[in-house]
């Protein structure tokens, strides 16, 4: 029940309970920041496949899920991790060898789709994309859309403004709501009941959380209810939306977690190097995901020295003068 008082559980349990084969999934974060990587690696370890993933620019986590073969369908705006991988390498390979069905949207369109799901309306309107191939070219075959009740019959609909041109708009793009079976996000703080506080940019995490049927929150710190309730203005997600609270230190590693740690350039570069070569990528998966018990083991493997290098400066929230080449 969404208003149980204690939702704390361990990661394998949360993933096993809420992320089923073929589930419709969305993860929080943006490119190389606050991806729920511990959860992503656990999904890969549990070899959950056939996932239908919704992403705006969620980045590293999406590329790793795709690379490990967990994803069969992807609705996405941007598949990359900034300077480390302008185009996600495993994503690119999967699309080019036809092992992944892709539907393209823009970041705002995906954001609005999550927002529509959160608001309980079938669509939201925008001017974005008029005149582009995003409107004309539908990645998912029409039959798939017609036969699968979990996705809408239309990728989107272009409509004349029914309000006589009000708002200087003749025409609008209506993007369909998304209600994922499960959303997973990583936050700095949560309490056992499920109230969540994200520090720094929230990206679209709040909309993704509220649109989901089930919500798993992994957090750096599990805090006492008093900590969050004395400053509720700073909390974004009420416990009423949350199903599982999973404390995982370094849970976003190798992506960043503002005020806790920076992204790890060493890991991200090593990932890129591995991702471009099939043998090296298999070795990467064995060494850093399958061959490892849990996220704590990965963090221990990474080692104190690198962790200290990315530890966030208390003033700026990131690792000042980190070597990011």
């Amino acid at each position: 029940m969404k208003n149980d008082r204690n939702k704390v559980m361990d990661l394998p349990t949360a993933i096993r309970r809420f992320v089923k084969v073929g589930a419709h999934l969305s993860i929080g974060g943006f490119t190389l920041n606050r991806n729920p990587m511990a959860a992503v690696y656990e999904i890969i370890r549990q070899r959950i496949t056939g996932l239908h993933v919704y992403a705006h620019s969620n980045g590293q986590g999406v590329d790793e899920l795709v690379g490990a073969g967990c994803v069969s369908r992807l609705e996405i705006a941007y598949a990359g991790s900034g300077r480390f991988a302008p185009t996600g390498i495993r994503f690119r390979k999967a699309v080019e060898n036809r092992s992944l069905a892709v539907e393209d949207y823009s970041n705002y369109q995906m954001t609005l789709r999550f927002m529509a799901g959160a608001m309980g309306v079938p669509f939201l309107p925008t001017r974005s994309g008029l005149g582009t191939s995003i409107i004309d070219k539908w990645g998912f075959p029409a039959e798939l859309r017609k036969t699968d009740p979990k996705i809408p019959n239309q990728k989107l609909v272009v409509m004349e403004n029914p309000l006589d041109g009000w708002g200087d708009a003749d025409r609008l793009v209506l993007v369909p709501a998304i209600n994922p079976d499960v959303t997973i996000l990583h936050a700095q703080k949560a309490d056992a009941q499920g109230t969540v506080r994200i520090e720094g940019l929230p990206f679209a995490d709040v909309e993704q959380a509220k649109a989901a049927r089930c919500l798993i929150v992994t957090c750096e710190e599990l805090v006492d209810v008093d900590v969050l309730r004395t400053a509720p203005d700073q909390n974004q997600i009420p416990f009423l939306y949350v199903d599982a609270v999973v404390p995982v230190a370094w849970g976003a590693f190798p992506t960043a977690c503002y005020r806790h740690y920076d992204y790890d350039p060493v890991y991200l570069n090593q990932y890129r190097e591995a991702a471009i070569d099939e043998d090296r990528y298999r070795t990467y998966l064995e060494t850093f995901v399958y061959g490892i018990a849990d996220h704590r083991a990965l963090i221990e493997k990474v080692g104190r020295r690198r962790l200290d290098a990315i530890r966030a400066d208390t003033q700026t929230g990131y690792a000042v003068n980190l070597d990011r080449r």
Binding site: L32, R83, R92, R127
Partner: protein, 255 residues
């Protein structure tokens, strides 16, 4: 005369097109450097903001992505994606925004492709996709575009239209229902291109030192008017030192 690299010249060329009090949307890489340089040189009251929702970040260090924690420090507001794009779609705020963007392909009307090379359903090369590019191109007052000047990038026909420029030219953009405004200039490794006020067709505005208009045309798959071309004023020592010392001392982006 001061020594400088091509990247440095391109960053400064873009910076010069940013006016004071402009609200600058930028992505990562050279675009971000141009925005940072403009703030230090010609447009002290310009404001940098990112699609991720960070407004007027301090940027003590150059970010490696628009979600880099470096954009979250010392902002006016740490908003959401929804906030950032609403700011651009909103007519009164959106028209004050200049967007800086890049792409894999551009056509004569400044439409951009950052999604796929080849057939969308049978891609030769799959790219990252729109991200916020389509949104920015749809909403903001004007855009500055970075391109490598190559025949395969300046194409007659895009493989995929990711971000709307002037569409088919003339008044086509407004007729389609997009906001007024669109591509202003294209900055390449050879020249600066602009768009005719009436036809919205690309023309050669300025060529970089040592480059001839003919050379520029050799690197394009379509013809453009070169009669309005003038010589490009090289980066000054002051511009260069600002760019190097204030914007990217680690040369993470300048290389």
């Amino acid at each position: 005369m001061a020594e400088y690299t091509l990247r440095e010249m391109m960053a400064i060329a873009a910076a010069r097109h940013i006016r004071d009090k402009d609200i600058v949307f930028c992505g990562t890489g050279i675009a971000m450097l141009a925005a940072m340089a403009a703030k230090h040189i010609s447009a002290p009251d310009s404001v940098i903001f990112f699609e991720t929702g960070a407004i007027d970040s301090l940027l003590a260090e150059v970010p490696m992505a628009v979600a880099d924690p470096r954009v979250m420090h010392w902002t006016s507001v740490n908003g959401s994606l929804a906030d950032a794009f609403a700011f651009m779609q909103n007519r009164s705020t959106g028209r004050q925004v200049v967007g800086i963007m890049g792409a894999a392909q551009i056509d004569r009307f400044g439409n951009l492709n950052s999604t796929v090379i080849g057939d969308y359903f049978n891609p030769r090369v799959r790219l990252s996709g729109s991200g916020g590019a389509c949104d920015v191109a749809s909403f903001v007052g004007r855009t500055i575009i970075f391109m490598q000047h190559e025949k395969r990038k300046f194409v007659k026909r895009l493989d995929y239209l990711t971000s709307p420029g002037w569409l088919q030219g003339g008044g086509c953009r407004e007729q389609t229902g997009l906001a007024p405004g669109g591509p202003a200039v294209v900055i390449t490794n050879l020249a600066v291109m602009a768009f005719d006020d009436i036809t919205r067709e690309m023309y050669l505005m300025a060529v970089f030192p040592g480059i001839s208009p003919a050379q520029v045309l050799d690197h394009m798959d379509f013809e453009v008017d070169i009669t309005r071309a003038r010589a490009f004023l090289p980066p000054s020592a002051a511009e260069l030192s600002t760019l190097r010392e204030k914007c990217d001392p680690q040369r993470l982006i300048l290389g």
